[in-house]
């Protein structure tokens, strides 16, 4: 190939500021426009506060709840349950996933149980969780856990199974012990898969937090949304939804960053 024909060797074409940030500019403008229209309709009194609310009302509600209400405690409560539940899910999911992925016979034995549990909508188990753990913190944590556990487990198993046999053979040829093979080939090779599981666990764990708090208990953002709905405080419901959505965006973004950071060695996908 002649060097100048190689697109990799040509200097990158000059791109304007707009071209570089096209997605951000278009997407951002659309969001701002939608908010403006919504706010205008709200200000014009076209929206019934019983069924809907306006952006400024949500902001106002946020200020009030933050300074006078118990928003901070609720966020802390939900946040802690999320962190504990997802943390437990990731640590146990990775360990069990590596073991199940490595030992084929063990996989055959536990697979039916996993498939059954995995296919059951986790919400259906909530009454059972309440019987076991009551309505306190640990039932919430457990609901987060069962939501977040399976994506980590399933992805880790997949990652271990996708390990290149050639790499195992190379390690063995250099007299690698089983534990060396685990730490130098199996675990690092599974990391990108594990992180895909973590990303899914984060979003499913968030669902778990909210759903768990809607069933019994009297704390947390999920409870706040539920209570707001029952008492026709539409703006409180909106505030809760916005907070959850924001947490989801930030957490997913962080998980994606992490995933990309640890997948640097992979060829361009």
């Amino acid at each position: 190939m002649i060097a100048t024909d190689d697109p990799d060797l040509l200097p990158p074409p000059r791109r304007s500021l707009y071209q570089r940030y096209e997605a951000l500019i278009l997407g951002g403008s659309a969001v701002i426009l939608a908010l403006l229209v919504w706010e205008a309709l709200w200000e014009a009194g076209r929206i019934s506060p019983l069924f809907f609310t306006g952006p400024s009302q949500v902001v106002e509600r946020f200020g009030a709840e933050w300074t006078e209400g118990r928003l901070k405690q609720d966020m802390l409560y939900s946040g802690r349950n999320f962190v504990v539940g997802v943390g437990l899910a990731i640590s146990s999911g990775v360990v069990l996933g590596v073991v199940i992925g490595w030992y084929r016979r063990l996989a055959m034995i536990v697979e039916p149980f996993l498939t059954a549990l995995y296919s059951t909508p986790r919400v259906a188990l909530i009454p059972l969780v309440l019987i076991w753990f009551g309505i306190g913190m640990w039932s919430k944590v457990f609901i987060v856990f069962i939501n977040a556990f399976f994506p980590v487990l399933i992805n880790t198993i997949g990652g271990v199974r996708a390990i290149d046999r050639d790499l195992l053979r190379a390690a063995r040829s250099f007299c690698a012990s089983d534990s060396q093979i685990f730490t130098t080939v199996v675990v690092p090779g599974s990391v990108p898969f594990i992180l895909t599981g973590v990303r899914q666990a984060v979003s499913l764990g968030l669902i778990g937090v909210v759903v768990g708090e809607m069933f019994g208990g009297s704390e947390g953002i999920g409870y706040m949304v539920n209570y707001g709905g029952q008492t026709f405080q539409t703006d409180t419901v909106f505030l809760g939804v916005v907070i959850i959505a924001f947490a989801g965006i930030v957490l997913t973004w962080l998980a994606e960053r992490l995933e990309r950071h640890f997948s640097r060695w992979r060829p361009e996908r």
């Binding site: 790499l167 190379a170 390690a171 007299c175 690092p188 060695w265």
Partner: protein, 237 residues
């Protein structure tokens, strides 16, 4: 079959695909067990992989999440025969020897197939084996890279002076590289003949067109072809 390889000797084993060359190499490497017969190094029977052997695989088999330096280090790291300073020194030395100085921090996916095979070779050499086992290491490379790598391998071998067992299905590659060429036949896998290669070293690539070279190549071809159960080379197996 029986084959003895002397210390410091470069022996190539040729034969059609499926004749068991790779199986033989894997047995010597200790990656496969054998039912009968005996395989030994310096009188000690082979029971599994050992630090006196290192394999250069047909596929580079590099850890994609490790840099080039990390991969060259890998074999030494597993075997724990060198302290950290020695490992670092050997890593640098062998990366330079295979001509990859400056690529230490690159990842394998950023390298061409030929360069990845150099890393594969450096990793094997760095672990300081007595015997280097090479399993068609250049088979996946294009013809030009392949010739270049053959030349390089001889240069490296003249410095590192290891016993080499080199598996290939290319007869001229075997003659060009080796002191002796063993011809293997399939079903049952056995050695049909061993040819000594008389050429002095260093050997220029032009040697491949020398009449004496072609004569040996011809003789080996005839030995390969006179197998009763085959209709010639390159068939399915």
């Amino acid at each position: 079959m029986s084959l003895a390889v002397a210390d410091g000797e470069f022996v190539a084993i040729v034969g059609p695909s499926g004749c068991g060359k790779t199986t033989l190499l894997n047995i010597i490497a200790g990656l496969l067990t054998y039912d009968d017969g005996s395989v030994s190094i310096d009188g000690a029977a082979i029971r599994g992989p050992g630090v006196n052997r290192a394999v250069v695989f047909q596929h580079p088999s590099l850890l994609p999440w490790r840099t080039i330096a990390g991969n060259v280090r890998y074999g030494m790291e597993l075997q724990k025969r060198f302290d950290d300073a020695a490992m670092r020194e050997r890593t640098d030395g062998f990366i330079t020897l295979v001509g990859l100085a400056g690529f230490e921090r690159h990842y394998p996916s950023e390298l061409s197939g030929g360069m990845q095979q150099r890393v594969n070779l450096a990793r094997a050499l760095a672990s300081d084996p007595a015997v280097l086992l090479m399993d068609e290491p250049f088979a996946a490379l294009d013809a030009q890279t392949r010739e270049h790598m053959q030349l390089e391998l001889l240069k490296i071998w003249s410095q590192a002076r290891k016993t080499v067992i080199f598996i290939t299905h290319q007869i001229n590659e075997a003659i060009y590289l080796a002191d002796r060429v063993a011809v293997m036949s399939p079903r049952p896998g056995r050695i049909k003949g061993v040819f000594a290669v008389p050429f002095d070293r260093p050997r220029p690539l032009a040697l491949k067109r020398d009449p004496r070279f072609l004569e040996i190549e011809d003789a080996i071809w005839r030995t390969v072809e006179e197998q009763p159960d085959r209709l010639g080379i390159g068939g399915t197996s």
